[in-house]
């Protein structure tokens, strides 16, 4: 999972905004005439969602019921391989040069250039994929604890089905229909509203939330889920139980973080307070293995874990290292009994093989020693089973490099199988992508753009090296830069004036600057806005963020006084060794600090990182020592500086020597009666807030699908996302007859959105001719 991205209005994503503005200019020109607009819709992939179940793809292939590009039942076996956190740019452009993922796989199938994730961070994407449930706060936060969700008792004026809104019968009329709602409200604050104590709202969906696998069960479709390192002794993290749970009868069998032996009420009921660490959800790899439950969707639904027929070794197995009952063993064993092989296979590589970790936990001795105790172990994440022993990543390097080795090991094995040759479909995708813009090829190129805009002097000389021709600007303009689409395939919050994406939807977006009128900052205000109460409740464009009142306990934004500070009347630069990037925009007070001052540009880095004018170090303050080693045994010298600015963002100078500064919490103009700072915030709002600064959403991850029914080397630019994927799987196996879903056609959650299309003839470019 990619972490929360802390940005000020001047942060890196401002680039996206500026590009957008340039793009808007071009867009306006392109859409001046209605005729142009109509032709645009016809040519544009986005037009796919203008009308229901139509594909504007270039393919002339047959479209089947619901817009599916292949006759249901033709695809007999699906292998979904889901990787982690890489944008289309990173995976399918020259940045990922000379790799199997970029050079080989797209040649074998179809490259979906506009396949989008649905949220951020990781876990909500996994649950959305298999259930159609939109992101909700705790899942967006990758679930600190393994606990039950606290269900709302009512929704839409009538009782829920364990939190699921059953008040409407139509997603058109009721967008919340079929969606789970928290007891604290649909956009509830991630934490305890009354005490400001961080808690969780729950992470395990109640049994009322059905999944694709429940649908498969009812339709007689065989499925299995494989996870690399599943069942390793300590793969549940340092505080987990021994992992000796019964893999055939307990929730552990679905890859849950805990053995429930001797535990009543498992998962524990929500809310789970922070002080109770009995069942935290390990979010990172440990020395014993790199399986993380948040990347495996099965244990997060009680509709699966409560069913012993699902959580057993017939459905959930380790991927490797479990001879007789793992991915390879099954592939070989079922070759003798083809009809027994699963129709659907879910494959979750571990945190090394899925490109998540930059350094595999069982990485190199060099890395271990450099980090003074970083876990060191054997080879690639638990090893591999015969017949093939792949190369372990050199030096324990993870990321796309390790993922590439994994793919090159696994995919040919599948491609050799009879199951693949007879109606197989290999689907390689990512849970989310970051940055959320696409076709820019790299972060560095994007910052090169900064340079040209004069925003980031010093980030000079962008590289223009992408052999795929998909580098920044492509043809020297910003036209062609894709941003995330709105429409039925993504639950994004957008700016009402520009259409700019503001967040990946309701939920945790900590660290974002807030508009003055965004009273969602008030703990306890969990009431959703409606036309009648929009003046008093959360505007739709607000997204949740750090608590901003003066009583905030959020360590990143609460008021504090820094004493390792040096400044003078000569320079607007103040040395503050504890300053952080996220402090930008906070009100500053102190001796000789002019009234109405704020933290401006922050430089926070190791000694010597400030290479600006001599005023960087006005008094030669000694750098701070911060721990680096596992036991804090080593340290790195750190120094920090910020520019003192006024409410207009202009640099101002202290009136005399400065030895300490007090930083107020991000000021919340919410009335004091509602827990904010009210009128006292007047003039103290973050001068850098920009409502148009994009936030990290699911992002374009791209996807590759390989099948006998897909022409090798084809490309689709139709917009798809995780909900499209779910709809496709439901349609491929025609589950509607036994599992009607929300629309009576077998589609769960937002996969039932009117207008959403499954993979069409642009994907199945070599589908056999069949009857409708």
């Amino acid at each position: 999972m990619i972490g929360r991205w802390f940005r000020s209005g001047r942060g890196s994503l401002m680039t996206g905004y500026r590009r957008r503005q340039a793009w808007l200019t071009g867009a306006v020109a392109a859409t001046t005439a209605l005729a142009a607009f109509m032709s645009l819709l016809a040519a544009s992939p986005a037009g796919a969602h203008a009308t229901a179940r139509t594909h504007p793809a270039t393919s002339a292939g047959t479209t089947y019921a619901d817009g599916l590009g292949i006759q249901p039942g033709t695809i007999k076996h699906v292998w979904l391989i889901i990787l982690e956190n890489k944008s289309y740019d990173a995976s399918f452009t020259g940045l990922n040069n000379n790799t199997y993922l970029w050079k080989t796989l797209p040649k074998q199938g179809v490259l979906l250039k506009n396949y989008f994730a649905t949220g951020h961070s990781s876990q909500d994407n996994y649950t959305s994929l298999v259930s159609g449930q939109a992101p909700q706060p705790d899942l967006q936060n990758d679930c600190t604890y393994y606990n039950q969700m606290a269900n709302a008792s009512t929704a839409g004026g009538q009782a829920t089905d364990n939190g699921v809104d059953v008040s409407g019968g139509s997603l058109s009329a009721n967008p919340n229909y079929g969606q789970w709602t928290a007891a604290a409200g649909p956009d509830a604050y991630l934490g305890n509203a009354s005490t400001h104590t961080p808690t969780t709202l729950g992470c395990v969906y109640p049994s009322s939330v059905q999944t694709l696998f429940n649908q498969f069960d009812s339709a007689g479709i065989k499925w299995r889920g494989y996870a690399q390192d599943l069942g390793d002794t300590t793969n549940s993290g340092p505080t987990a139980s021994s992992g000796t749970g019964n893999l055939t009868t307990d929730e552990d069998g679905c890859g849950a973080p805990y053995d429930n032996s001797g535990t009543s009420g498992y998962p524990v009921a929500s809310p789970q307070v922070t002080s109770d660490t009995s069942q935290p959800n390990p979010g990172s790899a440990s020395s014993g293995g790199a399986y993380v439950p948040k990347h495996f969707p099965f244990p997060w639904f009680q509709s699966l874990i409560d069913n012993p027929q699902d959580c057993n070794s017939s459905h959930i197995e380790p991927m490797f290292d479990n001879p007789g009952a793992d991915f390879y063993s099954d592939l070989q064993a079922f070759a003798k009994n083809p009809n027994a092989y699963p129709n659907f296979v879910w494959m979750t590589p571990d945190n090394c093989s899925d490109a998540h970790d930059a350094e595999c936990v069982n990485g190199s001795a060099a890395a271990s020693s450099e980090l003074n105790g970083y876990p060191e172990g054997g080879n690639l994440s638990g090893g591999w089973t015969t017949p093939d022993i792949p190369k372990a990543p050199k030096n324990g390097t993870g990321g796309l490099y390790a993922a590439d080795l994994y793919l090159q090991h696994v995919i040919p094995e599948i491609e050799k199988s009879s199951e693949f040759k007879d109606g197989g479909l290999i689907d390689i995708t990512f849970d989310e992508g970051y940055p959320p813009y696409t076709y820019n090829n790299s972060f560095y190129n994007d910052h090169g753009k900064f340079d040209s805009l004069g925003i980031q002097p010093g980030a000079s000389a962008a590289l223009a090296t992408d052999a795929a021709g998909e580098t920044l600007d492509e043809d020297g303009t910003d036209v062609g830069v894709n941003t995330e689409p709105t429409g039925p395939n993504t639950p994004l919050v957008t700016d009402p004036n520009t259409g700019q994406q503001l967040s990946a939807g309701p939920g945790d977006a900590a660290g974002l600057d807030r508009p003055d009128n965004c009273i969602a900052q008030t703990p306890g205000n969990t009431v959703q806005p409606t036309p009648s109460n929009s003046s008093t409740n959360t505007p739709a464009t607000c997204v949740l963020g750090p608590q901003a009142s003066t009583t905030a306990t959020n360590s990143l934004t609460k008021a504090r006084t820094d004493t390792a500070v040096a400044g003078n009347a000569v320079s607007s630069t103040i040395q503050d060794n504890t300053i952080k990037i996220t402090d930008e925009g906070r009100p500053v007070t102190g001796t000789n600090i002019p009234a109405g001052s704020f933290v401006g540009k922050v430089t926070d880095g190791p000694l010597g990182s400030c290479k600006g004018p001599s005023s960087c170090s006005p008094s030669g303050l000694a750098p701070a020592k911060i721990p680096v080693g596992a036991n804090g045994s080593t340290s790195l010298e750190e120094e920090g500086f910020f520019t003192l600015v006024n409410s207009a963002g202009k640099a101002v100078k202290p009136t005399g020597p400065v030895t300490s500064v007090s930083l107020a919490a991000d000021c919340d103009p919410t009335p004091a009666s509602e827990g904010g700072s009210g009128a006292s915030c007047t003039g103290l709002s973050d001068p850098f807030y920009d409502a148009n600064t994009a936030t990290s959403g699911g992002g374009d991850t791209g996807s590759v699908l390989i099948s006998p029914y897909i022409t090798p080397g084809s490309v689709s630019t139709v917009y798809y996302n995780h909900y499209s994927w779910l709809r496709t799987m439901e349609d491929l196996f025609a589950v509607g007859a036994t599992s009607p879903g929300l629309d009576g056609e077998g589609h769960l959650g937002y996969a039932a959105q009117p207008g959403l299309v499954p993979f069409g003839p642009d994907v199945f470019t070599n589908a056999p001719t069949g009857s409708q």
């Binding site: 991205w5 039942g73 709105t486």
Partner: protein
């Protein structure tokens, strides 16, 4: 090579954002409000839900039976080996790229970069960012991180200075990392034939995306271009 998008689809891709904008605008107008309502899937442009009739239910059941029959049907026994319809790759995937002055490269950790310089050649491989597990889950905005940059297959003489390397972090900070030799000692002034050495680059960087740039002549002179940039991601959650 990456498949080349057709002209038509490329045009569509370029115009797509505009279409999205217009659609979004239409949705907003349809809402009759100045605020966009999340989520946007309830866009008025989209057709209403259908009601599934009894006859359609019957069709669903028939289709379901047909699907089950197809799933259980078997094609004639396939030939062993990789599926014949898949193109044989003529491209050697060795995860090594070549960077020259005229063709600098972007890369990621683990990919070997063959650096061609005026004075010689070498293979550079980056490992990292490395940061301690104690920072995972903290969501700290900044993280002390290290990178291991290994030079092997050195031919000729390649000058080496600390200012050759710059780290650009998520927040746009341009940082010169501290550099030392792994195993101790100071960084040599040049790489020579037969050298194999690993540099340790230490810095404190913002969580998120970033890049390490290697510019053998320094980055401060206008008009100079770096030879290679390694993109990386610091994930501390």
């Amino acid at each position: 090579m990456t498949p080349v998008t057709s002209r038509l689809s490329e045009r569509g891709r370029r115009l797509a954002p505009a279409a999205v904008l217009v659609l979004a605008g239409a949705a907003l107008a349809g809402c009759g409000s100045s605020r966009a309502a999340p989520p946007t899937h309830a866009d008025a442009n989209f057709p209403s839900d259908r009601q599934v009739s009894a006859s359609e239910k019957a069709q669903q059941r028939k289709l379901h039976e047909e699907v089950l029959a197809r799933l259980h049907s078997r094609a004639p026994k396939n030939k062993p080996g990789v599926a014949s319809f898949l193109p044989r790759s003529t491209t050697r995937v060795n995860r090594i790229v070549v960077a020259t002055r005229s063709h600098p490269k972007l890369a990621i950790a683990g990919i070997g970069v063959e650096l061609h310089l005026a004075g010689g050649e070498t293979l550079a491989t980056l490992n990292g960012p490395l940061y301690n597990n104690k920072y995972v889950g903290t969501n700290d905005p900044t993280v002390p991180a290290k990178f291991l940059l290994t030079f092997t297959r050195v031919h000729g003489e390649i000058p080496l200075t600390a200012k050759d390397f710059t780290v650009l972090d998520q927040q746009g900070n341009n940082i010169v990392p501290r550099i030392r030799m792994r195993g101790g000692g100071r960084m040599p002034g040049q790489l020579r034939s037969g050298h194999r050495l690993t540099l340790v680059l230490s810095t404190v960087i913002s969580a998120g995306d970033g890049s390490i740039v290697y510019n053998p002549t320094g980055i401060t002179r206008a008009g100079r271009r770096p030879l290679v940039g390694w993109d990386f991601i610091v994930e501390d959650d």
